[in-house]
Symmetry: C2
Subunit: 268 residues, 2 copies
């Protein structure tokens, strides 16, 4: 999607065309989670497959990524299928496959649209938080690798203690500065730590099963943002019978760049 | 999904197996919108295709429906594909096809899960509203047919005037009482009128492009609800360059039954 190929995110998201019209990529050690890749990198590489297509028209407006099973370390293949191209938008279906075609590990649907000037309004209100520099950078206490790829600073919301709510206000940026685009913004949307750890100090197994993103900014809007941090807001709504959700917003200055939700499986 | 086959919703969602392993259905005049079927009925029939499968295990936990183009009056075929079945969940891909297989008109991905007792918490707060009987039933002023199939009463949020926000608190029920299940709850999630009409009195063309639902209740939880109304909450967050979103909650008494979001295309 961009020419900044020396950035580790771009290396992690790199795709090479195969002879049968698909794309081949490889998981990144740098963006590793506990037992598989960081879900934000997986979501971003699914989206990147559309940017590699000559049929792509417009900007992403909606992306839903379902995590079917653990992505294993090593190679994967992505199949992107253009289901329909309309006058104003395109609908895509995307599969990530491993084990020589035997295992579908990630499934997504995406909508791209030609964005045009219209009436405009932010109804969501950006929370008032201090400048990034006034907060400490998050230092992960466990073995996860991917948080080191980000400069995450929490203005509100400490994990692993019993808070009165699960609201997080987080300054999010690539640790090695990189101009914001749809790929990095997609990955940012999955940097929120599991909401259950905000309400309960108990560490239980969790895993995101579905990530949803609506993009409110277009290519020009993201390019104007540059390398500065994004303010991420997230809050869980319900924790019931093995699943909880959260919904969130990504702010670039006063601009609402994206709204995002996810559903997470948990044990106990 | 249930045996209450005389209810018009069940007639609208009826599916018959084809000889090639797919399902055939037909659009319903009763659930007609302006120029196509009510999107909530389309979403519900996509979900119903999974309930018709012998491979289905568990309850729906996540459903994303992308509306590719106008569903035409008449027959359609649904192809449901089980992408993966894990120990605790199943991942499905669903296509609705018309014109003898030439046009994919709707695409969805869904997750089903085996729900088990766990720690439980509602973080979202149900708004305080009066009893349904204290509000007038919504009478659509235009040609839409589907609102007549519902008993919609707005405790907050009048459409087609310039409100200070787009928050709606709506009592939602089938006009002809029907016990709540995943199909009717899915359709309920699309009964909110477009948020842009809450902020601007101008009537412009709009169309939902993507609907997302996370189910927080399981089969037993919905069955316990019965035929009473659900309280729906919705609010837009951003209206920019041809698209706006909303996010919402569906409450059954004090229980959070579902959280839902959608992205809507608009002109001007």
């Amino acid at each position: 999607m961009n020419n900044n190929s020396s950035h580790p995110l771009d290396e992690a998201l790199a795709l090479v065309p195969t002879t049968d019209g698909r794309l081949r990529g490889r998981t990144s050690e740098l963006y590793w989670n506990m037992v598989g890749p960081f879900g934000g990198a997986t979501a971003a590489v699914m989206l990147n497959s559309i940017f590699q297509s000559k049929e792509r028209v417009g900007d992403p407006v909606a992306l839903t990524v379902n995590y079917l099973s653990m992505v294993k370390e090593g190679e994967f293949v992505i199949e992107a299928r253009l289901l329909r191209s309309n006058r104003t938008n395109q609908h895509w279906s995307i599969l990530m496959i491993q084990d020589e075609g035997r295992e579908i590990v990630t499934s997504a649907i995406a909508i791209f649209g030609a964005r045009r000037p219209t009436w405009s309004l932010n109804e969501a209100v950006r929370p008032a938080v201090g400048a990034r520099e006034t907060y400490e950078r998050f230092q992960p206490r466990n073995v996860m690798r991917w948080p080191l790829m980000y400069d995450l600073r929490y203005a509100r919301g400490d994990v692993r203690q019993q808070n009165d709510d699960s609201i997080t206000h987080a300054w999010i940026a690539d640790a090695e500065p990189r101009p914001l685009d749809f790929l990095s913004l997609t990955a940012f949307c999955d940097t929120f730590l599991p909401r259950i750890y905000m309400r309960r100090p108990l560490m239980v197994p969790v895993g995101t099963v579905s990530l949803n993103i609506y993009f409110h900014a277009d290519t020009d809007g993201l390019a104007a943002h540059g390398t500065g941090p994004v303010l991420g807001v997230a809050q869980g709504q319900g924790f019931h019978k093995g699943y909880f959700d959260h919904h969130g917003q990504m702010w670039g200055g006063e601009k609402l760049l994206a709204t995002t939700q996810q559903l997470v499986w948990f044990k106990e």
